[in-house]
């Protein structure tokens, strides 16, 4: 909400209380009664409090906290097949449904691997400075508690080996994708996409696993899914260059996508999540997942 060009409030919890997001019930109500407003007549309780991100007194019959580690792997593999840069960008996402005014502490087993971090405003800086513990009063519902970066990883779970040879106006291309180091969980929804250079006039690509699509803007996507046990997925085919060109002098960059559920590749582990006052019927849940972020493989 903006007043005179200056943000009056951007806190989602306050905004939601001020103007209720439309849902089925409110819609039905407005149809039935003819006019029911989503605009609240009262000031949201959080607007004046010292923790504006939290409505003052949410009530839940069952108290639940979920912590998700969502990590993205950024990597660059150069033309020599060398891993130039490999790092993890991660987020700690939480979904808290807790009654009252809970005070949480979250600690990691190995906080020293974190290179940089950024916190949600609810996180107190002092405890982190002194003993690397996240102490906070959580907002209600889903939010991003912190984001972090872990640098200088040594290995990627998937390898991509592209090869290209060009001769007298045509190029032969072949790309192999396989598992380099097994993370212990299945690697899902592997995709490989790349932009064909402008000088390519037509392409004929096929694969022994998965599907290949080429869009009109010369974007080529190879959807692999899971890697089969018995064979190594391989994309191969020929590219025809524009007439007059002998060989290819610009090369595409492959962007890899994958998803691994149940594991944080950075190795970051949550030690424990404590509540200062433990409400009845508390349920705590932890999950982790890693997917590819900016994963470039250059040809």
């Amino acid at each position: 909400m903006i007043d005179n060009g200056f943000p009056l409030t951007t806190e989602p919890s306050i905004l939601k209380e001020m103007i209720a997001p439309p849902n089925l019930v409110s819609k039905m109500l407005s149809v039935v009664t003819g006019n029911a407003s989503n605009v609240s007549d009262t000031l949201p309780s959080g607007a004046g409090s010292c923790v504006p991100w939290r409505p003052t007194d949410p009530k839940y019959s069952s108290n639940e906290v979920y912590v998700d580690l969502v990590e993205e792997m950024d990597a660059i593999v150069n033309r020599d097949g060398e891993l130039v840069k490999c790092e993890i960008y991660g987020e700690v996402q939480m979904n808290s449904q807790l009654t009252g005014f809970p005070d949480l502490t979250l600690s990691f087993a190995n906080p020293s691997i974190l290179e940089d971090m950024r916190f949600h405003p609810c996180v107190r800086y002092r405890p982190w400075e002194s003993h690397q513990v996240l102490s906070f009063v959580p907002p209600d519902g889903e939010f991003k508690l912190m984001s972090y970066r872990v640098k200088k990883l040594k290995n990627t779970p998937v390898y991509v080996k592209p090869q290209i040879t060009s001769d007298s106006g045509t190029c032969r291309i072949s790309v192999l994708v396989g598992i380099r180091s097994d993370p212990g969980k299945t690697i899902e929804s592997i995709t490989l996409s790349f932009q064909l250079p402008h000088c390519v006039s037509s392409a004929d690509l096929s694969s022994n696993h998965g599907t290949v699509t080429i869009l009109s803007n010369k974007t080529c996507t190879w959807t692999i899914g899971r890697i089969p046990k018995d064979k190594t997925p391989c994309l191969s085919g020929t590219l025809a260059l524009e007439p007059g060109l002998e060989r290819l002098h610009v090369f595409p960059t492959f962007k890899l996508g994958f998803k691994i559920m149940g594991i944080a590749l950075s190795g970051l582990r949550i030690e424990k999540l404590d509540l200062q006052t433990i409400p009845p019927r508390l349920y705590k849940g932890f999950r982790a997942q890693t997917r590819a972020g900016e994963f470039d493989v250059r040809l």
Partner: protein, 1115 residues
């Protein structure tokens, strides 16, 4: 078939869209005018009004002018439904400026809404009122803002802070100081949300009023982490500017690092320099940072680059710009320390702008060894949206230019992703070429090799240019790099044949340029490279690249042994190709052959001369003006050379000799190495828009001049402590907090001045002792500002002493003036009561009443019947010639009740109320002789404080209906309270229970003319008090005199009255504040604090009215 299917899918999609929109207002946008809006607006159902207003807003959104509905819409502002109200407000904001007169009608409702118990309603009203950009409303809006600035609800106070810039935008010079004062009050708020908004108001209204910041500096620093992000950004900037203005730059910081070395040879810098170089892996380089550039940056921050660069002698002033006086040291300065402490955790903020602002503070203020902690947070920002990536890179680039070693170990962060935007890629390349070190250059070059093969050729060209930049910075760049570039040139020159894309040409040109920069460093070693380049001239087709190579032929024509021997061949080739060249190449050919001719050896001279003459002939008849001009110019210049037969002939005339010298100078000069720093860099404050666009954006201000702000109080903290002690000494009760209000106890004080008039010793001043102590002085005075003169002043607190002894007081006042806070004296006026003349009104005119004249006046006595009754003195006078008999006054209604017994029902219904008679009748006057007058006392209970009472006047057996009008001023009774009680009650009645109005007052002008001997202040006080007490039944609590001000200026004079409402016993407080010169018409601000809003407002209007009325007592 397909067609049919298409149509069904269309209807399907329509239906699904319709389904989605059920329950929303989206349909209102389709055709807002499909119903008649006007009757809906007048509907008695809120929902219909609501729909009509939504339709109007939909029309506004679609660009229609619906201002013709204005009167109808404004009428609805009184609606009870908050939704209707809100929609009306939106409409008003749109059209109020267009229809100012009608908009004024709504003001009353705003005023009413400002007193609403719901904070949301108050906030809406305030936002709308401030948003109506009418000058007429501005004073009202300002009053509303100042009221809301003390509202108990945080949200309303925040809206008040947001409203201030809107008022400021109206450019009301007369209110500027009031607005700034409000900013100060809001900055002092204890809620972080309010402080954030106040910081925004501060930056847009008075960014250089550092006094406001100085008062609360420590508190602002402490509250900074809790302020919401938008406020944080502005507050960080404000605090930084304050510290620079107050204390100057920090001596240990990067900004002043060079001065440390200059002033005292041995210095920290050596150690720090080592620290910095230790960060780098090689540690061998000495250029840990570029001293000149850093000083340039710091000067740009202070002065603004435009001003700075406009002065030509920029390099001379490097060392003399900052006095040591203007700097400070972090070890000794608490303020700087606090600022750095409170901003450093913000480097972990989730908001990129906050991180950047915090990094800016550390960059400018932090000691050298601490600056590196900004690096990682800044690098982390690179993993965000592409727009913020770009902004962050712009700022990092400046930091890296000044101190490349900061970022050198983190070069991997600037490796380019295929998903980066072109601009981001370009900045990353620039960063890489800036921070490359001998240890990292190998991996950076390997990356560059990959980039050159990128499909984006513009980016590839930039990469090639970046290689050149790296080569320029680092001497030890591998020769493989040069080979690679040469290979690239060869490859590109082939590719260029087939593809005429601009991108390829760009890569080629950049490659040639990069090779040129590398050769420039050590031309002798790269002779072979030059020869290769010259050989490839034939295959290179791009004009710019050819021109560069041809230029190189000219520059290096006398280098080594092989090149001079090639010259004739090359020039022959150039002459041959001249006709088919592009014009930029032709120009270079002309220059080059001129150079070649001058440095030519004897053997080749004749040959070369013939080639030159040939080329000149071709050039003279070229199509392009430029080439013809250049040719003629060169021909004239070289005429002596062309005429001679030997390359170095000295036997020429002196005139020709001069020409030869000119020629030597123009063409024979060796290349001068250009300094790697381009001194025309423009630096703006980190995080500013100007740094992104590289020119001063509107609103950009450099840092204030160091130490330009002199804080007037010596030391705030010790001062406060002193005061506390003094206050504790005086009465033990701690009410005074002079400026800081650090304990936050009086955040909602209703005093708009700096709070010093909260008496710390008011209790010693007796309030009502004047009645029993006839010897008590007329006015008691006491100083409230705690100072050394305290005792002296108190020792003679009689005003007459003070007045008689003007010189001595003026001796005392300077201290009060110096402390820059207006002091107040409190006086109480003793014997005014005797001079109060109640005002009388006429009930019956002698003309109407056949000679009977009846006047009445309200008495201040309290009724003995019930507290609800008011005593009225009625004066009967017979102005006729005959006696009047049986004069009496009776209540009209009670008579009716007595007459007709049928009306008992009504009577019973409010019997309990009617137990108390409305009129205590007076004694009947049996006979009134001509010219005789008699007074009678009646006691009346008014039904309503505004409605007149109907009475019947009996005389001579006639009945005349008369109306007795209530005087609001007498529907209250004096309520004696001390000043402490008054202030306590007042603080309990803030916000909506407080209303104020302004009026003028000029009674004292006549008074002061008549009574010259009297003190002006006193006479003003007296005349105001008299006026108030003559018109209403109040108790004078206290009078505050401004002591520190000039004797002519009555601003700050404040009178306080207290009373209780008769009917409800609710206390009602009145404060009258005076502004203006003693001898002129004064402006009064009358403020009422009362829970009974309606009564209070009416009384306020009444007071404002009678203050303006000419006084009856003066005439």
């Amino acid at each position: 078939m397909f067609n049919k299917f298409g149509s069904t899918s269309e209807t399907l999609s329509k239906a699904s869209a319709g389904l989605l929109r059920i329950g929303t207002d989206a349909h209102l946008y389709d055709d807002p005018e499909d119903v008649n809006i006007a009757p809906l607006l007048d509907s008695k159902f809120e929902s219909e009004k609501c729909e009509a207003l939504k339709r109007l807003l939909a029309l506004i959104a679609q660009g229609f002018d619906v201002s013709n509905f204005f009167p109808q819409v404004v009428k609805n502002v009184a609606s009870q439904s908050s939704e209707v109200k809100k929609l009306v407000y939106l409409y008003l904001l749109q059209y109020a400026e267009k229809r100012p007169n009608e908009a004024l009608l709504s003001i009353n409702y705003f005023q009413k809404d400002l007193g609403d118990p719901n904070p949301l309603v108050r906030a809406w009203a305030l936002r709308t009122m401030a948003g109506i950009r009418l000058h007429v409303i501005a004073p009202l809006a300002l009053a509303a803002v100042s009221k809301c600035a003390r509202d108990p609800a945080v949200y309303v106070r925040r809206c008040a802070a947001n409203a201030l810039p809107k008022l400021h935008d109206l450019r009301l010079e007369e209110h500027a100081s009031a607005i700034e004062e409000l900013v100060g009050i809001l900055l002092n708020d204890h809620s972080p949300g309010v402080v954030g908004a106040a910081a925004a108001a501060f930056t847009s209204i008075c960014p250089n009023n550092f006094k406001l910041i100085g008062k609360n500096y420590k508190k602002l620093c402490q509250i900074l982490p809790d302020v919401e992000e938008w406020g944080q950004i502005l507050l960080i900037g404000t605090l930084l500017r304050y510290v620079v203005a107050r204390h100057g730059l920090v001596r240990e910081s990067l900004m002043l690092s060079i001065h440390g070395t200059n002033s005292n040879g041995f210095c920290e810098k050596d150690g720090l320099g080592r620290d910095l170089t230790l960060d780098k892996e090689d540690g061998g380089k000495s250029d840990s940072f570029d001293v000149n550039l850093v000083s340039l940056v710091s000067k740009c921050y202070i002065q603004g680059p435009d001003e700075y660069l406009s002065r030509s002698s920029c390099t001379d002033t490097v060392s003399s710009a900052f006095d040591t006086k203007e700097t400070t040291s972090i070890a000794h300065n608490e303020d700087v320390k606090i600022l750095l402490q409170c901003t450093s955790p913000l480097l972990w903020s989730n908001n990129s702008a906050v991180v950047l602002a915090a990094a800016g503070v550390q960059w400018i203020m932090a000691p050298l060894e601490d600056v590196k902690k900004i690096v990682k947070p800044l690098l982390f920002l690179l993993r965000s949206s592409s727009a913020s990536k770009y902004v962050v890179l712009c700022n990092i680039l400046v930091f890296a230019k000044a101190v490349p070693s900061l970022f050198a170990p983190h070069f991997e962060n600037f490796f380019i992703c295929s998903s980066d935007a072109y601009q981001v890629k370009a900045y990353k390349l620039e960063m890489l070429s800036l921070i490359a070190t001998t240890s990292s250059i190998a991996s950076i070059l390997r990356e560059f090799e990959d980039y050159i093969k990128d499909p984006d050729r513009r980016f590839a060209a930039d990469t090639v240019a970046a290689i050149g930049l790296c080569a320029k910075r680092l001497m030890t760049i591998p020769t493989t790099c040069l080979d690679g570039l040469l290979a690239l040139v060869r490859q590109e020159s082939f590719a260029g044949d087939f593809e005429s894309a601009d991108g390829e040409a760009g890569v080629l040109v950049q490659a040639v340029m990069s090779i040129q920069t590398m050769i420039e460093r050590d031309p002798l070693r790269h002779e072979k490279v030059l020869i290769q380049l010259f050989r490839s001239l034939d295959s290179i087709k791009v004009a710019a690249a050819r021109a560069t190579i041809i230029w190189m032929v000219g520059v290096y024509c006398s280098l080594g042994h092989i090149i001079p021997r090639m010259l004739t061949t090359i020039t022959k080739y150039l002459a041959w190709s001249f006709k088919s060249e592009a014009s930029e190449t032709k120009l270079q050919i002309l220059n080059t052959i001129a150079k070649v001719l001058i440095s030519a050896e004897a053997g080749d001279f004749h040959m070369l001369k013939r080639i030159v003459v040939y080329v000149f002939e071709l050039g003279e008849y070229d199509l392009s003006y430029d080439i013809r001009d250049r040719t003629r110019f060169l021909k004239k210049l070289l005429s002596c050379k062309l005429a001679s037969h030997e390359p170095a002939e000295d036997s020429v005339a002196s005139q020709e000799n001069i020409a030869a010298h000119v020629v030597e100078h123009v063409f024979g000069r060796k290349l001068k190495s250009v300094s790697p720093i381009t001194l025309h860099n423009r630096f703006y404050l980190p995080g500013s828009l100007s740094q992104i666009v590289l020119h001063a954006a509107p609103g950009y201000e450099p840092l204030p001049k160091p130490c330009s702000f002199v804080y007037e109080e010596q030391d705030q903290l010790s001062d406060l402590d002193k005061q506390r002690e003094a206050a504790a000494d005086l009465d033990g009760s701690e009410e005074s907090s002079e400026t800081g209000d650090e304990n936050g106890s009086s955040d909602y004080d209703s005093e708009s001045s700096n709070g010093s008039d909260f008496s710390s010793e008011g209790d010693e001043r007796t309030v009502s002792n004047d009645a029993n102590d006839p010897a008590a002085p007329l006015i008691q005075i006491s100083e409230t500002s705690v100072s050394a003169d305290q005792e002296e002043l108190r020792s003679r607190r009689a005003l007459d002493l003070w007045l008689d002894d003007q010189p001595s007081t003026s001796n005392q006042t300077p201290s009060a003036l110096n402390s820059n806070q207006s002091s107040y004296a409190k006086i109480s006026i003793g014997d005014v009561g005797s001079r109060v003349k109640p005002k009388s009104y006429s009930l019956v005119d002698p003309g109407n009443g056949s000679g009977l004249k009846v006047d009445y006046a309200f008495l201040s006595e309290v009724s003995n019947v019930s507290p609800l009754h008011v005593c009225v003195e009625v004066l009967f006078e017979n102005s006729s010639a005959e006696p009047i008999l049986e004069v009496n006054l009776e209540d009209e209604e009670s008579m009716k009740v007595a007459d007709s017994s049928e009306q008992t029902l009504v009577g019973k219904a409010n019997a309990s109320y009617n137990n108390i008679p409305t009129l205590i009748p007076m004694e009947e006057i049996s006979c009134l002789e001509p010219h005789q007058s008699t007074k009678r006392l009646i006691q009346v209970r008014f039904h309503h404080h505004l409605l007149p009472m109907r009475l019947t006047l009996h005389y001579n057996e006639k009945k005349v209906p008369v109306k007795l009008r209530p005087d609001l001023g007498y529907l209250v009774k004096p309520f004696s309270m001390s000043i402490e009680e008054f202030l306590a009650t007042e603080s309990r009645l803030p916000g909506m229970f407080e209303y104020s109005r302004r009026c003028t007052f000029d009674d004292h002008v006549k008074d002061s003319r008549t009574e010259n001997g009297k003190d002006k202040f006193l006479s003003i006080c007296e005349s105001i008090t008299l006026k108030v007490l003559s018109n209403s039944n109040l108790h004078l609590v206290s009078v505050d005199l401004p002591v520190a001000n000039s004797l002519e200026d009555a601003t700050g004079l404040r009178l306080r009255f207290s009373s209780k409402i008769l009917s409800s016993e609710i206390p009602l407080l009145i404060t009258i504040t005076v502004e203006g010169k003693c001898t002129e018409v004064l402006n009064l601000t009358v403020k009422i604090n009362c829970e009974e809003t309606v009564f209070g407002l009416n009384l306020l209007n009444r007071i404002a009215n009678f203050m303006v009325e000419p006084s009856s007592s003066a005439t």
